[in-house]
Amino acid sequence: MADLSVKFCGVDMKNPLITASGAYGYGREYTDLYSLSKIGGISTKGTTLYEKDGNPPPRIAETPCGMLNSVGLQNGGIKKFLAYELPNLEKNNLAVVANVAGGTIEECVELVSMLEGTSVNIIELNISCPNVKQGGAAFGTNKDCAAEITKAVKNATSKPLMVKLSPNVTSIVDIAKAVEAEGADAISLINTLLGMRIDIKSRRPILKNNVGGLSGPAVFPIAVRMVWQVANAVDIPVCGMGGISCAEDAIEMMMAGAECFQIGAVMFNDPYAPVKIIDGLNEWCDKNGVKNISEIVGTVKPW
């Protein structure tokens, strides 16, 4: 058995797998199948200051090797998270990454202030949701806005701050450098890519929101490329995600420079994916003489 443990911005995780925000709720739905303690960490459903309704349905459209969603950050708000969800997560042995999103900088600051003194291990600041009108990607697609919000949030928290980046930008490296310069402790990427599908019978977009975020294996090569570019451009650790669907994908992502990774859409197809990927990492390490999974981070040898 290889050592899969990783230390990610000072937080010890028993393995590098984190379930991605929006794909795993607050961890309650899959415990019929396996214990939450199997996974390295959970990035919670994007949580806002107040309860949020989300977008009208349909919110889901299938695509070749993936899907679009336009859920729109539906969640019960931070107070419900603290009272109801966090105590449940605390019963398990896993890292808790609180994914937070706000419509304004002030909201984000208030959100992270409310997480001070709690058992949350890492804050993941979502500046990249493509499905909300205010905030979200508006912060993440502009270098100056990304820097400004990072600075304000970093000043309001004593916890490690990971900023989740949008791929819907001209230069992801510029945004990554901007948030690093303002004190981000880590970067996670990529959020979904903005996409669209049309029902040719009705000539209507399938999503009521017209457009939505693309995820699943279709986006994997884009995610690997962006993680590789960002990991080479910044000195803070990177958490890679986007279309990972098996252990080999996770290894590829880590070789590109990710110290840990998140999985999302694959779980809709195979709810056991987290367990299978962790087992697969173990097997691969054993077969390839890798004693500690961290050895492979950033080991791609570019031509």
Binding site: A23, R59, F268, P271
Partner: protein, 255 residues
């Protein structure tokens, strides 16, 4: 409680145009299932699972029956599976129909491919259930012998009058209510039908449960994709078909 596994198809039949009937051997899943719940089926080559309602439950033999119609490429691929092959199913999922004592009188209303889940709930009530089913035309009619075999009274309607009586299920429902008011109405079908049935139920002060569908991803309540507008205590919000449903009290959804 739900489970996931590979389950063998032990019977397959095409029962109408583009409409297939599969029986699957799934002891552990079958032990957990209630009428109105659904299974989430993975079809090779397609990223998202297909939610399919459960039409029949045989706890003795540990089998369930699903009846589905080809609606797109995914269900077309599903229709190509043969006896002896296995399907990757997640289930049973969602909240099923609330059942009263089995000696209560109920009416089930199924429209088109919304008819299959009505068979599972009507079975529980036997002779105390009246199953109203509606189809566009006779080539699409399904499950009428199955309702009769479990002692349900049946009323068949077709839009064009090519089988049963000509007219809509709502006409038949209104007529039944004049004779005797049931203790519950169960319905599944197109939204326009569900709206009409819900209104009839409300006007007659009869409890009504309706089964809904929506484009779905996880099937277990994690992704919040399959939203449906609900109303409770005067407050509207988005619930989810996979977790709060697929069966809802008709007074609690905004169609």
């Amino acid at each position: 409680m739900y489970t996931q596994g590979m389950y063998e198809i032990i019977k397959k039949e095409q029962i109408a145009e583009d409409t297939f009937d599969l029986t699957l051997s799934c002891r552990d899943l079958c032990d957990l299932v209630n009428p109105g719940q659904f299974v989430h089926i993975s079809v090779p080559g397609f990223f998202l699972r297909r939610p399919i309602s459960i039409c029949g439950i045989d706890k003795d033999s540990g089998t369930i029956r699903i009846v589905f119609q080809i609606k797109g490429k995914g269900t077309d691929a599903l229709s190509k599976f043969e006896v002896g092959e296995q399907l990757d199913m997640l289930g049973p999922l969602g909240i099923g129909f609330k059942l009263l004592e089995s000696d209560k009188k109920v009416i089930t209303v199924g429209g088109g491919i919304g008819t299959p889940p009505m068979l599972a709930v009507a079975k529980y009530y036997g002779k105390n259930a009246t199953a109203i089913s509606g189809f566009r035309t006779k080539d699409l009619v399904i499950l009428q012998d199955d309702f009769k075999a479990q002692n349900n009274k049946t009323i068949l309607c077709t839009d064009d009058g090519t089988a049963g009586e000509k007219g809509f299920v709502t006409d038949a429902l209104a007529r039944c209510l004049k004779e005797e008011k049931p203790d519950m109405i169960y319905a599944c079908g197109p939204v326009v039908m569900l709206k009409a049935v819900s209104e009839i139920a409300r006007n007659n002060e009869i409890s009504c449960q309706i089964s809904l569908e929506e484009r779905m991803a996880c099937g277990v309540g994690a992704c919040l994709g399959c939203a449906v507008k609900m109303t409770r205590g005067g407050r509207e919000f988005y619930g989810h078909v996979c977790k709060n449903g697929p069966v809802f009290d008709s007074k609690e959804v905004v169609l």
